[in-house]
Symmetry: C2
Subunit: 235 residues, 2 copies
DNA sequence: CGTCAAATTGAAAATTATCAACGAGAGTGG
DNA sequence: CCACTCTCGTTGATAATTTTCAATTTGACG
């Protein structure tokens, strides 16, 4: 949250209480399973994770990728049973906390409540972009969009990531995020590569023509263009 | 919000301040256009509206349908420029209010802040269901899902809506919501009808086999199964 | 060296889009 | 009251995109 506004010491203390405990999650392990009874929320401290739903024909839709600093499992604010599965994409560390802890923060720190609504809306915008991409753009555009999105989000964590990065997703995972089959993802990656937009070498992707890639993907960065002047004063 | 918890008089007064002004919006008129500079939020008082994005090849993706009581334009909490367009599906009445008004409520009424997060998460769940449907289910399933969703949401407003209701969407709008063409929507509606799941007569849809329809659609009702026991006390 | 997940490739099939046309019904101006 | 126009729904034929199935290859790792 410190990226958006300057956090006061009192707010910092309150947020730190959410991260008192730690739990390790191995790559592939499940933190929360859909339809399980749940109550805990999490902050991702290290690693990357994803939230997904499993349809009853066995296919999977990945809803969102999570990076360090993200809150996860916010839906258990609302539902008795989790609607989403949360899985580790790489070995990760999470900080579990109780709903009541969040409740106390909302009461004591209105500005943090507002900031959480802000994050909720950023996430909403990201989800709606994905929705529009899956509903209305070609397979190639969707794959390109995932590449750009992953690069941008990784770069938020590590400022000196440039045009080259470890993707950290299998082609099957890209397919589950974009609503395509792994086979078709493979063909689209190859096509994007043949057009000279990217280069690939075992998991590392390099953007050769970022402008062309953005145009192919119809991409909008939802972490830009923010206006937070309306936030209440810190308490 | 009164559907979820009992609102105290003080909370009621605070919320009523959001609805002091009224504005009429004719069917087809645009309340907020994507990429316009915006600052206002809205509560929908009467009618139905939709939020959508327009891609630059001219195609449209409908993100969400709005019904009376819904807050709209929450993204202007965050962005200088609106990412979504909000349009009236029928003649409607909205109540515009300022971001600062919301800010004051968050500070003065923590339980309302929490309830707004709850609504945000319900909306998120609805969006992710749509995402999974568009990404991973057949055209027929997506159309069936829209039918069920519209019926359920209309029934929340009017308890004695049963198996028959006015859909209030053109086939083109159904297509833009499901990521299909209007032509294909037509064929899917016909097919669902021929299978005896629904009947249609100029805009009115009647469910003949609700169980079959739910199975065809892979449907989950996100307004059920809530657990709000963690909410802070009313102030 | 053997094994296993992941990537790659080709061919055929299924789904969905595109194009083009027509019909029904609502509103509108003469 | 009668063209006239417009939107919406409907239908058929064809094309494009994406999936499915079935191998095969590659690379990491014990």
């Amino acid at each position: 949250m410190g990226d958006l506004v300057t956090i006061t010491p009192a707010e910092h203390t309150a947020l730190a209480r959410l991260e008192e405990r730690e739990r390790k999650v191995r790559r592939g392990a499940t933190l929360q399973r859909a339809n399980d009874r749940v109550g805990e929320l999490f902050i991702l401290r290290k690693g990357t994770m994803m939230s997904s739903v499993l349809l009853d024909d066995g296919s999977r839709q990945i809803l969102r990728f999570q990076f360090p600093g993200d809150m996860m499992g916010l839906t258990s604010l609302v539902y008795r049973e989790a609607p989403e599965t949360i899985t580790a994409l790489s070995d990760s560390v999470v900080c579990p906390f109780e709903r009541s802890a969040l409740s106390e923060i909302l009461s004591a720190h209105p500005r943090l409540a507002a900031l959480m609504m802000v994050y909720g809306q950023i996430e909403r915008a990201a989800l709606t972009d994905r929705l529009a991409a899956i509903g209305r753009t070609s397979a190639k555009a969707r794959v390109a969009a995932i590449l750009i999105d992953m690069r941008n989000r990784l770069r938020m964590l590590d400022k000196h990531i440039g045009n080259s990065f470890m993707l950290g997703l299998t082609q099957e995972e890209i397919g589950d995020a974009t609503g395509l089959t792994a086979v078709h993802v493979n063909r689209m990656l190859r096509q994007i590569e043949e057009e000279g937009l990217i280069a690939r070498e075992n998991g590392r992707v390099t953007f050769l023509d970022e402008g062309g890639l953005m145009r192919a993907a119809n991409y909008a960065d939802r972490y830009e263009g923010l206006d937070l002047s309306w936030l209440p004063a810190a308490r």
